[in-house]
């Protein structure tokens, strides 16, 4: 059984730390994973206070959030602390997670992003401005088959991101991991600003097309 296969098992009754012992072994499959198999179920279990589910989420996402924060320019120590804090926020906010609105990865991404932004400037307008809006309140828990659809949607989006042409993916990546103005991104890539804009636009057209049936 490899590290990933562990995530296919039901959570209940399994010792939480079984997966943790395997942390050191990062297989190639883990490197390019398809998301945590049942991340949404795990987050819903965490909302009900399931520590074993939290341990699985932590083991999977903390190391990825750490990489994300490192790429955003956090120091190694700070990235470790913020990844910790991000997963603790997952524990505290799990009740707000709505699998129909966001994939587990997208939801954890926004938590990590807000911590990164916050750390950068010690004030956080982005998330709160949106979170305060009443229409952003979570909807009732999704039915199981709706959740399957959501999981397929997430999988499709991941595939669409991977399938982006290299030049478009480069612009998407730089947009997410660098706080340089777009003019500097253009200079870094050695292309005009208009090209950066059109590549990003094309990338979004492709990502949307990848989700067509879900609109």
């Amino acid at each position: 059984m490899d590290g990933r296969a562990l995530f296919h098992e039901p959570i209940g009754g399994r010792p939480a730390l079984a997966a943790v012992g395997r942390r050191g072994v990062v297989s190639a499959a883990e490197d390019r994973n398809d998301g945590l198999e049942d991340g949404a179920t795990l987050i819903l279990a965490v909302a009900a206070g399931d520590r074993a589910a939290f341990a699985l989420l932590f083991t999977h996402y903390a190391p990825r959030v750490k990489t994300y924060l490192l790429r955003r320019g956090a120091g190694v120590q700070r990235a470790e602390e913020l990844a910790q804090e991000a997963l603790l926020s997952v524990w505290r906010k799990a009740g707000q997670f709505d699998p129909l609105r966001a994939s587990p990865g997208a939801w954890i991404f926004t938590i990590a992003r807000n911590l990164g932004v916050d750390d950068h400037r010690r004030a956080r307008p982005v998330a709160d401005a949106l979170a305060d809006d009443p229409s952003a309140a979570p909807e009732p828990p999704a039915a199981a088959d709706a959740r399957l659809d959501a999981a397929e949607r997430d999988q499709r989006l991941r595939e669409a991101v991977r399938a982006l042409p290299a030049d478009q993916l480069a612009v998407v990546r730089l947009s997410f991991f660098s706080d340089k103005p777009h003019a500097e991104i253009a200079a870094e890539l050695g292309v005009p600003l208009g090209t950066v804009k059109s590549r990003l636009r094309l990338a979004f057209v492709r990502l949307r097309a990848g989700l067509e049936d879900f609109r």
Partner: protein, 197 residues
């Protein structure tokens, strides 16, 4: 009816959390009330999630999970969620007021609320860097069209414009400028040191 939205580039940077604080306040002021941009933002956040899922893991400290489990029931660290706080309103000209937003400014950026009475024409100007404008009340018109409540204006360093307030109410905007304004006419240039923008 909102007709002017932030560019996809700007919305992506907003969703990615890479805009400066001042810029993101102005984008947030628009996005909160704009279903279209909320959808684009959600799409960009979903893309962020896909990038996160594909991220190679960086090993955490050996006791990281143990630490997390030990801290799990501690209350959340407080005081991080602050909305936009404004400073004192300053008089600029008859009926024109500027109210600075308190931000951790990056470089020479500025964020402020500008109240301009109906019919008033602002001095022709251009900017060093970008300018974002969210219309909170009333409307104005410039070379690129009519901007009403909810609209978002995005100008580059190259754009030279002269907004005029239209309609029969004052216009209130939340404005972010990346760098100083450059007044295009002599009176504006004369006044600029007093304007502080």
């Amino acid at each position: 009816m909102t007709t002017h939205h932030p560019s996809e580039l700007t919305l992506t940077a907003f969703a990615a959390g890479t805009l400066s604080e001042g810029a993101s306040h102005v984008v947030a002021a628009h996005v909160v009330g704009c279903p279209h941009c909320r959808e684009v933002t959600a799409m960009a956040e979903a893309t962020g999630g896909a990038l996160l899922d594909d991220m190679p893991p960086t090993e955490m400290a050996a006791d990281a999970l143990e630490l997390a489990l030990a801290r799990i029931d501690r209350p959340a660290p407080h005081g991080t969620s602050a909305g936009l706080v404004f400073g004192r309103r300053r008089w600029l000209a008859p009926g024109v007021w500027i109210t600075p937003g308190k931000i951790a400014a990056r470089g020479r950026e500025q964020l402020y609320r500008l109240d301009v009475p109906q019919g008033r024409r602002l001095p022709r100007h251009s900017h060093e860097g970008r300018e974002f404008v969210a219309v909170l009340q009333g409307c104005f018109v410039d070379e690129s069209g009519l901007y009403a409540v909810g609209d978002f204006g995005e100008a580059d360093a190259s754009d030279d414009h002269q907004p005029t307030v239209q309609g029969d109410t004052p216009c209130v905007c939340l404005i972010w400028t990346e760098g100083p304004l450059h007044m295009r006419d002599p009176i504006g240039r004369l006044l600029q040191p007093w304007l502080g923008i």
